[in-house]
């Protein structure tokens, strides 16, 4: 039942794609006695046009464009509808890895976590200050609003 339905659906989609998709229309016209001489030119034009389209969409996505552009690029690259957890791009709006240039902090507050391994009291205090200074510098550079601090002193692991 599922097989028959998917077969019928793909056949219907194939027909629609053949009838309405611009590339298919052009290819059908080229595959004629009079149109075949345009084949190499049309082929080269296709490579350029689709290449430019891919580069342009990629640029928009990299610059933080709308999610629809990301989804379109996913579809272009994979040929399938994107599945957010597995498609490897920020379809869900959260990037896995973000460079400093792409950074734009949200309004949500940030918390910090400091951990110091077991050591002498003086050394622990110095290490807490070191980590605190590093965190403060990063928060300042990234424009984060620090709210709470959590400190574990004397814990390894």
């Amino acid at each position: 039942m599922i097989f028959v339905a998917s077969w019928a659906l793909s056949s219907r989609l194939y027909g629609l794609a053949q009838r309405f998709c611009p590339s298919n229309i052009v290819i059908r016209r080229v595959h004629t006695r009079t149109g075949i001489k345009w084949g190499p030119l049309i082929g080269a034009a296709g490579v350029i046009v689709y290449g430019l389209l891919l580069v342009a969409t990629g640029t928009i996505v990299r610059d933080g464009g709308p999610g629809s552009a990301t989804r379109r690029r996913c579809c272009c690259v994979t040929g399938n509808a994107p599945t957010p957890p597995t498609c490897g791009c920020p379809c869900t709006g959260r990037a896995g890895v973000m460079s400093a240039e792409d950074w734009s902090p949200s309004d949500l507050p940030a918390v910090s976590y400091i951990r110091v391994a077991p050591t002498t009291t003086d050394e622990a205090a110095r290490e807490v200050e070191r980590q605190r200074a590093r965190i403060a510098l990063a928060a300042q550079r990234l424009g984060l609003r620090m709210a709470d601090e959590f400190v574990d002193v004397g814990y390894s692991g």
Binding site: R94, A100, P105, S106, D107, L108, P109, A110, V111, S112, Y113, I114, R115, R130, Q131, R134, I135, L137, A138, A139, R141, L142, L144, M146, A147, D148, F150, V151, D152, Y155, S156, G157
Partner: protein
């Protein structure tokens, strides 16, 4: 998740209960040096929609 660190537990409870965007640590290994435990903490923060920010990656070479 077994962690004998009271403030880390408090932090995870805090991000789960409140809206927190980021958890900033000086270096990645401050959360945990054990990869399995680090993955658990990562997952807990991710579930709370809080992103981990590693200060060492964001302070530039002059500060290191």
């Amino acid at each position: 998740m077994s962690m004998g660190r009271p403030d880390l537990r408090r932090l995870l409870d805090h991000v789960a209960a409140n809206q927190v965007g980021y958890c900033v640590v000086a270096t990645r290994d401050r959360l945990s040096e054990d990869p399995e435990q680090a993955a658990d903490i990562d997952q807990a923060l991710d579930d709370a929609l809080a992103a981990i920010v590693v200060a060492a990656d964001n302070t530039g070479p002059a500060a290191n």
